[in-house]
Subunit: 321 residues, 2 copies
């Protein structure tokens, strides 16, 4: 059985496309279908199936419903977050609230949570309580992360620790949960399930910190999004928080000046470079990826499974888009 | 053990007030506490405990967590519905989105669903799968009902059957679910659990139709809300749909005239009266209450429990507020 991201993600695409929608109030599900059809890397459900495959020595498809649950939940958070951030574009297409209005985005998002829980419970058998506890605890943490993210926008100072805590909640716990759900489906013991969770969590941190790095230092020809959005929005990422720690005066002065976006991006990223923060951010992502690989090395799985999880970690902190 | 609404609802108030909130991101839970403290009848959780008490011959508190789940979910729907309806006031106080903004209302509402599921699963044991299936199916139906409600606003015609289907989904299924969760906790057989659900569903229909009647024909001194809001908003309730069936021309002419709200209320309710629709709506609520009582009479419970459920049904279709 192939242990490749392509095989896992094509399994997921197949079942996503075959997903059954209730016949009542079809208008409720149009935004759901639209959101699910807009692609994305399917990283989270891939983790669920891969974790199950690695631990159960199967093709992993016995965890397909739990994988769908994670993907549905992830897409629901994007839908509601886009409303909260008033974002117009997601993955190159108009956001749901932009196309159908805020009400549709709220309500269809709510419906996606129910769809996720339905998938989570499908064929769950004796593992239902464990699956639900992991899923629901994670959901609450994701909301806490989003709440902190919104509160940080209003605050003057945010510390590096606070920032790492926030992205841990908003992003990384769901990757941890994705891995743990697969482990539960594989009937792994608690120690192994926790190790898989920890791997996913560290992987999530690497992804997010690389995301922050790419937003400023990515190659415009490859990145696919505008470079410098975080700087222009004054988003308190690891880079900006660190820069303010070393040169608060200069950063304040730059944001007080009403210079053009392109000039602001150039000047702020110049400060980042001068203090080695581009290197620092890149390395922090690498550290988390190394941690993920060290954790997966402790789990009793085949070499090709271990290689798969390690290559994901390498990708997380070296990817260009 | 007392079989009174006061005992059941005071049990619920006690545990609601003692509810634990996570320490992370406390701002997420302020709107939740505010919403839960704003009172309301606690009808749904009362049904859960009463159903459990009646069927298990206990005080019903073994269903307290499932009762909380229903109350949390109900309050979440109010929170998101208020955003969608752009309502400024709920139970005499500013709505959450009015006080904290739309983003807080969306996110805290999402968190309430997780809190509800946490409660649902507490002490659930072997019944978890049944409880979750009932709860989650109901949640999806409530969203379908809200979707239809919003779609009906945009439509020119809505039939009586469509309207009854919509309020069944938006309102009644949750009362049915509340009863069924209590029955499941009492380890009732499927036939009994379904009868309790059907009782709750019929009770919900009686409540909603009485609500529609009160909005136009309630006593302003007792009702507590402005009379005639549905008429002013052109809300397609049973009354307006029926009136259009018998005198579409006159209704259309009244809504085309730009008369003052008070005049519109008087003229439309005069049409309702002329065609006996005040009586018709009142009677339809009574029919559903009678159906609820007939169903509960088939369930093997004590006389005082049966009396309790029957008095709730009588109250649903005779209440003045």
């Amino acid at each position: 059985m192939d242990f490749t991201i392509d095989r896992f993600s094509s399994e997921i695409e197949t079942v996503l496309q075959a997903l059954d929608y209730p016949a009542t109030a079809p208008g409720l599900y149009e935004p759901v279908k639209y959101t699910l059809a807009s692609g994305g890397k399917r990283l989270r459900p891939v983790l669920t199936i891969a974790a199950c495959a690695a631990l159960a020595h199967t093709d992993g498809t016995e965890a397909i419903h739990q994988a769908l649950a994670v993907e549905l939940f992830h897409n629901f958070t994007l839908l509601h977050d886009d409303v909260m951030d008033n974002a117009d574009v997601r993955r190159g297409r108009p956001t749901v609230h932009h196309r159908w209005g805020v009400n549709a985005a709220i309500l269809s998002g709510d419906a996606m949570v129910s769809m996720a829980i339905e998938q989570l419970a499908t064929d769950a058998g004796a593992e239902l309580a464990d699956l639900l506890k992991c899923f629901n605890t994670t959901a609450m943490e994701v909301y806490q992360g989003q709440q902190l993210d919104m509160e940080f926008e209003e605050r003057k100072y945010v510390s590096v620790d606070e920032y790492l805590h926030m992205i841990g909640l908003k992003t990384s716990v769901l990757l941890g949960c994705a891995c743990r759900l697969g482990a539960i489906r594989a009937k792994a013991d608690e120690h192994t399930a926790q190790a898989m969770y920890d791997y996913g969590f560290a992987l999530g941190m690497a992804f997010q910190l690389r995301d922050d790095w790419l937003d400023t230092f990515g190659d415009p020809a490859v990145f696919g999004k505008e470079i410098g959005g975080d700087i222009v929005n004054g988003k308190k990422t690891w880079l900006l928080i660190k820069a303010r720690e070393v040169d608060e005066m200069r950063i304040q002065a730059l944001y007080a000046d009403s210079c053009m976006p392109q000039e602001l991006i150039e000047k702020v990223s110049e400060i980042y470079r001068r203090h080695g923060l581009d290197e620092g951010c890149r390395r922090l992502a690498e550290d988390y990826a190394a941690r993920a690989k060290a954790i997966i090395a402790t789990v009793d799985i085949d070499k090709r499974a271990c290689d798969f999880f390690c290559s994901l970690a390498d990708h997380a902190c070296t990817r260009q888009h």
